[in-house]
Amino acid sequence: MINPNNCTPIHKILINEKVKNTTLSTRILQKLPKAETILFKDEDLKEVLKHHDAPTTLLLTTLKGHPIIMCPGTTKYHCCNYRILNIGHNCTFNCTYCILQDYLKTKSLSLFTDIPEYMQKNIIDKYIDDKSLYRIGTGEFTDSLIIDNISELSADLVNFFRDYPNILLELKTKSLNIETLLKTKPANNIIVAWSVNSSRVTAETESASSTLEERLAAAKQIVEHGYDVAFHFDPMILYENYWEDYQLTIKKIYQSIPKEKVRWISLGTLRFTKGLKPTFLKKSPLFIDEFILSDDQKFRYIRFRREKAYKEMLNEIRKHHPEQFVYLCMESSVVWKNVFGFNFKDNEEFENWFNEKVFTHL
């Protein structure tokens, strides 16, 4: 089976007969001729998964619902009105802090192989004719590139979105699966983003994905090919002496990537829902700490520690690149004010501010 770099091996493909003839399904089947394939009727999905659900199973199915949805974000805290292009679900990297395993009940990776067809119909109707600015990403319910070596979906997305400069598409990943992107003509409105962390967090909680150095090497290749990149420090874990480790990660980023090619950096400290607390703390010694139940009913580090960590990060990033655009993910108005010196009256204002900063190509 194809398994370059840290790509997920696929041994079995479940195909919903509704999408068996889509371009994307055909391409995947051609790429994995040795994989066992099982064709099923749409109404039999649950039954099929009951017998074949596994991390090495790929489910090719139809998208139910709208292809673009608002990022669920959180209530009462600032969210940037990010949109999600719903290409599929699940991730086999199994990062210890990831809440996907708790939200999603299946182990298989799923891909909505009718997404290119949906994009034509829906995105044009809802977005393209509208001259507003939108940031859209595919990496919320799955890793954007986790099976890109076999789906090559990134090429479809880049080629589709390049003509619509009012949309900024972010492909967010922890993988090294960049071959398709390297074969595709880059576009100014496509950002390839990597989640990054301290080496210790990566080693202890993200062991099934790639190392920081590998991610930065992939980002470097992507930049050399002509794309811009972004980095997400999320979740930042405030273990003892975390600061030196995070400082080193920031240093490595700017040693590897020309600063003007880093379109944005986001920061977010560890958070988890109330329901997950009994199991969450047991997942890693790094998580044993003090958390308070914040106003959106998620557990977070006490505000003073979050503010301190963000200020340290911001100062360090600005030492390397004083104009670097940095934002906080799911943080409170107070934290924004104390870290950046300003905050937003609502999410729309946050969104407008964000757009002004990042749609530099318009």
């Binding site: 009994p278 703390l281 047991k282 010694p285 044993i288 003090e290 308070i292 139940l293 914040s294 106003d295 006490i302 505000r303 003073f304 520690r305 503010e307 301190k308 200020k311 409170s332 107070v334 004010k337 104390n338």
Partner: protein, 157 residues
């Protein structure tokens, strides 16, 4: 297989010890149902950090109060959440000093420290009562300043 058996035995041993420990503590410190549950959670979390936590850990707890259960839970919280407990202790003291059983106002502040501002709620909306409240608030100016500093956090951080 043998290794897994040993691991399971160890794991079960820990759980068994924890159950016994909680029962013993609940009896000794007269914990009610909710306190027992909270203590169990905190002890389990402390053990995640230090699996060698044993009964003698609790020997450092001393109390001469009649409310031994409350004192024990507070003592345990201070060990499980030292930073939060320190902030909370300061907050409680300040609020007690500011309120001092006055019948005119209350400081409204959520003790998760997510806000850096407090509000004043007047108990009686009448003008005369508000005026008395304002008078009391002026008397408590220093405590109110301390409160503002506490909830804003350390500016040098």
């Amino acid at each position: 297989m043998k290794k897994r058996y040993v691991f399971l035995t160890k794991g079960l041993g820990l759980v068994y010890n924890l159950v016994l420990m909680i029962e013993s503590i609940a009896t000794k410190y007269r914990l009610n149902h909710n306190q027992k549950k909270e203590a169990e959670e905190m002890i389990a979390e402390l053990m995640l950090k230090d699996s060698s936590l044993l009964l003698n850990f609790f020997e450092s707890f001393e109390s001469d109060t009649n409310q031994i259960s409350d004192a024990f839970i507070t003592w345990l919280r201070e060990r499980r959440y030292p930073l939060y407990s320190a902030y909370h202790k300061k907050l409680s003291l300040l609020l007690a000093n500011i309120h001092n059983h006055n019948p005119y106002f209350r400081i409204v502040y959520n003790d998760n420290f997510e806000s850096d501002e407090y509000e004043i709620a007047y108990i009686n909306p009448s003008t005369s009562s508000k005026e008395l409240a304002e008078l009391k608030l002026t008397e408590k100016k220093e405590y109110l300043q301390e409160l503002a500093t506490l909830i804003k956090g350390n500016p040098n951080d």
